[in-house]
């Protein structure tokens, strides 16, 4: 309690001296910690594909990585307000986001996938979503992908903070849309009655967003360089194999 109080006072006093703070800090990376198998926690330990890749990048760059976990809906706010340097949470490159941030090279190539409760014969592909209730994660790119469909007005989109796969398994929604990779992973590893419905319907590339300023672009170039090395020496592929049984870092 005392320590926390003095921390608050310290923070207040720091506000005044802010510009003097040095830039030579660890690489601050934001993630939700609740997106299996990319970033999740087991017995208090942060794990996942994103953690492994970012650790490898940090090692290659010779910089320590400091992870900040927050609800997904808070991550871009943390990036925007300069509290983190980038987000490692399967951030898809979109036009909208490119207006505000500069992106690294993609490190995951994936597609949007419809997932239904096991035995659902009504929804077999993305076309069957007409007149159905479909769950997507709040702030994720999949809502936009659904909105771009010609029959978007006939789809009832429901946004979730978390637990959308659980609600689909319970039959509260007809389907959810997520990236193929983590959807397959959920079905493979977890005791939920779900199945993939049809092929993917839009290719997506996921990368790290950085602040659109000189420091951000510089950092992005450094990360790109480290990633290129890791791609060449097979590190990226082996991390992907470890988590997904396949190489998702290639187009």
């Amino acid at each position: 309690m005392k320590a926390l109080l003095s921390k608050i006072l310290l923070t207040i006093s720091l506000v005044a001296s802010m510009p003097l703070l040095a830039q030579d800090n660890p690489l601050r990376v934001g993630m939700s910690g609740s997106y299996f198998p990319f970033t999740f926690v087991e017995q208090d330990e942060l794990k996942g594909f994103e953690v492994d890749v970012m650790n490898a990048i940090g090692e290659e760059m010779g910089r320590e990585v400091q992870y900040e976990t927050a609800n997904f809906s808070g991550l871009f706010g943390m990036l925007q307000s300069g509290r983190i340097d980038t987000v490692a949470n399967q951030i898809t490159i979109t036009e909208e986001r490119q207006k505000a941030y500069v992106f690294s090279d993609p490190y995951v190539y994936d597609g949007a996938q419809v997932v239904t409760k096991k035995g659902n014969t009504q929804v077999q592909s993305v076309e069957d979503l007409k007149g159905k209730t479909v769950a997507v994660n709040l702030g994720s790119n999949f809502e936009d992908l659904l909105q771009e469909l010609p029959y978007a007005d006939q789809i009832n989109i429901k946004t979730y903070e978390s637990n959308l796969e659980r609600d689909t398994a319970l039959g509260r929604v007809d389907a959810f849309v997520m990236d193929r990779v983590s959807a397959s992973q959920i079905i493979k590893e977890k005791p939920l009655p779900l199945e993939l419905a049809g092929p993917t319907f839009s290719q997506i590339k996921n990368a790290y967003p950085f602040h659109d300023n000189e420091a951000g672009r510089e950092l992005r170039d450094e990360v790109n360089q480290a990633m290129a090395t890791l791609r060449e020496n097979g590190t990226l592929a082996s991390i992907s194999e470890k988590w997904f049984g396949t190489d998702i870092t290639q187009p």
Partner: protein
């Protein structure tokens, strides 16, 4: 239905317990600051101090009239956009600030009501035998007002403990945030969240017992 994974739940208890102190600290510090602020507001409102009274009314109106989550987002993500130096405010501080202002707005009104609720004839009697304003407050009004305000203030404290579960949106891993992340790793949602629920529940039960005890003590003068 799957069988409840009791083993997982038991394993989770020590892990989640590590985050309980932070939850209690957020609420505890928030409560101390909120009480101080609320008392100041109540005094300003009761004495109708010009200018301050109007400012207090607007403050209370805003912080009672908007959701806590909106306020937290405003402090943590909104303000640094306008004043970049405010980025130094970390999630813990922003949460405590949000809790403080939000609950101070509510508590100010119940403290004010408790003070106003002490019968005017007592004030007149006290003044008639020559008590100063300070003595009047200390000896007559505040002891009675405290007794009246205590149950609602405890209620707000209990509410505040539960409101700390919003902090993970600001990147503060407290009890709820830790539970969310563990559940994401195991997909055992029911097990994870029921463990968290029981922890909150036990804490609140202990506080309710404390409230009972305090009420009995403060009521001593009234019981026969």
């Amino acid at each position: 239905m799957d069988v409840l994974n009791v083993e997982y739940m038991l394993g989770l208890v020590p892990v989640l317990l590590r985050y309980l102190p932070l939850t209690l600290q957020l609420a505890g510090i928030g409560m101390v600051f909120a009480l101080i602020l609320a008392c100041l507001f109540a005094v300003v409102r009761v004495l109708r101090i010009p200018v301050l009274n109007q400012l207090t009314i607007v403050f209370i109106s805003f912080f009672r009239g908007t959701p806590l989550l909106v306020q937290l987002f405003l402090f943590y993500y909104g303000l640094p956009q306008l004043f970049s130096a405010l980025t130094v405010i970390d999630g813990i501080t922003a949460t405590i600030m949000g809790l403080t202002m939000h609950f101070a707005a509510y508590m100010a009104e119940s403290i004010r009501a408790a003070i106003v609720g002490v019968d005017r004839s007592q004030t007149e009697a006290a003044l008639s035998i020559g008590m100063t304003n300070g003595q009047l407050m200390r000896r007559i009004v505040l002891p009675q007002a405290t007794r009246v305000a205590l149950p609602t203030l405890m209620n707000y404290f209990i509410d505040m403990i539960k409101a700390t579960s919003l902090a993970f949106t600001l990147g503060v891993t407290e009890l709820m945030g830790a539970t969310q992340k563990e559940a994401a790793g195991s997909f055992l949602y029911f097990e994870a969240f029921i463990v968290a629920a029981i922890m909150y529940w036990i804490v609140v039960e202990i506080l309710s017992k404390l409230q009972n005890y305090l009420e009995i003590r403060l009521n001593k003068a009234y019981s026969r």
